[in-house]
Symmetry: C2
Subunit: 349 residues, 2 copies
DNA sequence: TCCGTGGGTTTGAACGTTCAAAGAGAAATA
DNA sequence: TATTTCTCTTTGAACGTTCAAACCCACGGA
């Protein structure tokens, strides 16, 4: 086992007291230049590293950020959060924090884990993903005065954001996709999404509908709602393509749905197979730019996940350091960042 | 902020001393039944939770397991480690440990991170992934006497395993795939893999070659080595299919290569397009059962990742608790677990 | 000469836990 | 009765750090 170097060892080696060493590390401006250098040399020479546990005990700060790792549900969209997690780990490290993982099957279980973690490891903050209407996790954390940032907006909250958040503008994404299809000559552009009420889903649908209307196309009857599976997407797409005046292009709320849609478009098993209808093939655009979309050649909207992670850490450090500032400072009460997705063009559209 | 409940609060509330409370939690058998119950009630009532930092300071155990989160290289195979990570987080939690994340670009950087983490957070153990020939990470950890488990064998180590490990039997996987193809009537079965020397790659190639030989087929000339990209796979597959006596089926070392192979097989741009050759289409089998394989319909070998993660935690806890036992106990010096992959059949083979 | 000032440093205590050892009774033994 | 033994419980110290306060000393002003 490695020999443990403490602050006392450094102090002895540099011929100063414990506190001076501590000052050199935490408030260097208070130490005389010459002394500081001597201490730094000793630190270097002995390979000293501050012990987090001891520091935490005294200061109450663990320099730990806790976040949940999701069981990848359908395997396709799971990769999104994994990439976010990787970015978070990197950004956090740069800011001097480490990421602590936990799992939880639902919001209630997650809150139980909050209690557990707060009692035992005392993370300085949480990063929540997958926010939704009536999210009990955020209210719980707010009630505790616990610092946190969400990747995802606080959906359905009437008066102002109650907490810091980072999100990607889904509506802007589907709007860009729709505009792209309009530019390519499509008019009847359908939307494949999730049942109303899901925040993210409604937002993405809204971007599509808004853009169609602006182009003078009535979106009514051009959208279908279903759960987020490949087969669901295929069924819903087929339904949309068999309607009286079928869509010639589809914007989808996820790559899973887009993959399903592609099956419907390509598969000869369709009641109205594409060969029967003259004209160009039906265009399909997905959301999230997952590896699957890339492999299959689906045009998709890419979320800037690394940037989102960095923003989360930036907001968090601001929150955590803000404790020291004047508590009543009303500037920037609940900062947020809204990032733009970008369209990655592939064969499907 | 939540009120902090300490062991002293519990002691006062139950009318006993600090140490008795500690004993109830750590060595209950030493406390009288009645007292124990009284303390447990107090713990419950006050919502007491042991403070990890304080405990760590005294015992030197952090109940933290550190592991690396990889930047997903080609996006396809990345999902494998993410699923493993999720399993690890769950299994660790069940054993009373939490997972701490870090990133590192190469082995040297990873070792630097070891030093950093060991000085600051003092994780009890590491879980390493992606072992390879001459892995300097494992030797570094061994030199420090630091407990760890690798997901991946210690490749190229002559005399016995120097440390605990968990792995999936790649050779058995490709052997099963090859056998399956033989059973389907194929004889000229090719292999698409990586350049020799990579441990994992050589192992997977060996399973294929061994099985072919056993069936009386000479594998010579039937394999190609390339780097792990979709385009690389396509090129290599094309090369293999254009040879004098082309393969009728391909076993691939990864789903990325398999996807490339599928392109080569299906694409009409091939010098020897499948339509020109009479007979059934070329079968393709991948490795890892990624979401992409599922989406595209590639038959692939699935690794039992959750089980692998559980095994890692099991081996770790044995290592960590083993410290207390007789140090010279020679039973089970470096335990390991070798799991079997399973073939998931899809359209491609 | 004395005092106040201020930069730079040290001292003692505390964070919450567990280890090691000591203490308090009651029961068993001499 | 005195002594040992045993079970259960308490006391003091320690882990490594930082906070709060005290200390030291050189300097400038009265």
């Amino acid at each position: 086992m490695a020999e443990k170097v403490t602050i006392a060892d450094v102090a002895r080696h540099a011929g100063v007291s414990r506190q001076t060493v501590s000052n050199v590390l935490n408030t260097p401006e208070v130490v005389r230049e010459e002394t500081r250098q001597r201490v730094l040399d000793a630190v270097e020479e002995l390979g000293y590293r501050v012990n987090q546990a001891a520091r935490q005990m005294r200061t109450g700060r663990s320099r730990l950020i806790a976040t949940r790792i999701e069981p990848d549900r359908d395997g396709i969209n799971g990769s999104v959060l994994d990439r976010f997690l990787h970015g978070l780990t990197e950004s956090a490290a740069r800011a001097g924090y480490r990421v602590l993982l936990y799992t939880a099957d639902d919001d209630t279980a997650e809150i139980a884990t909050f209690e557990d973690l707060l009692g035992a490891y005392e993370p300085d903050a949480f990063v929540l993903t997958g926010t939704h209407h009536g999210d009990i996790r955020t209210s719980w954390l707010l009630g505790r005065g616990m610092p946190f940032v969400t990747f995802g907006r606080p959906w359905g909250v009437p008066d102002g954001a109650p907490h810091a958040w980072v999100d990607v503008d889904g509506a802007a994404g589907t709007a860009a996709a729709t505009r792209h299809l309009l530019d390519t000559g499509h008019r009847r552009i359908g939307f494949l999404g999730w049942p109303a009420g899901s925040g993210v889903g409604d937002d993405r649908r809204e971007g599509w509908a808004r853009t169609l209307r602006a182009a003078g196309v009535d979106p009514a009857g051009l959208d279908r709602a279903t759960s987020d599976g490949v087969d669901d997407g295929e069924t819903a797409a087929r339904d949309l393509l068999e309607s009286g005046d079928p869509a010639t292009a589809l914007v989808c709320a996820s790559d899973s749905l887009a993959l399903g849609a592609l099956h419907a478009v390509r598969s000869p098993g369709a009641a109205v197979p594409s060969e029967d209808r003259a004209g160009p093939p039906v265009a399909v655009i997905g959301f999230d730019d997952t590896p699957v979309a890339k492999a299959v050649g689906i045009t998709s909207l890419s979320q800037p996940l690394a940037e989102a992670a960095t923003s989360c850490v930036t907001l968090l450090t601001r929150l955590l350091d803000g404790d020291n500032r004047t508590p009543g400072s009303s500037g920037d009460p609940h900062p947020h960042v809204l990032l733009q997705p970008s369209l990655v063009r592939r064969r499907s559209g």
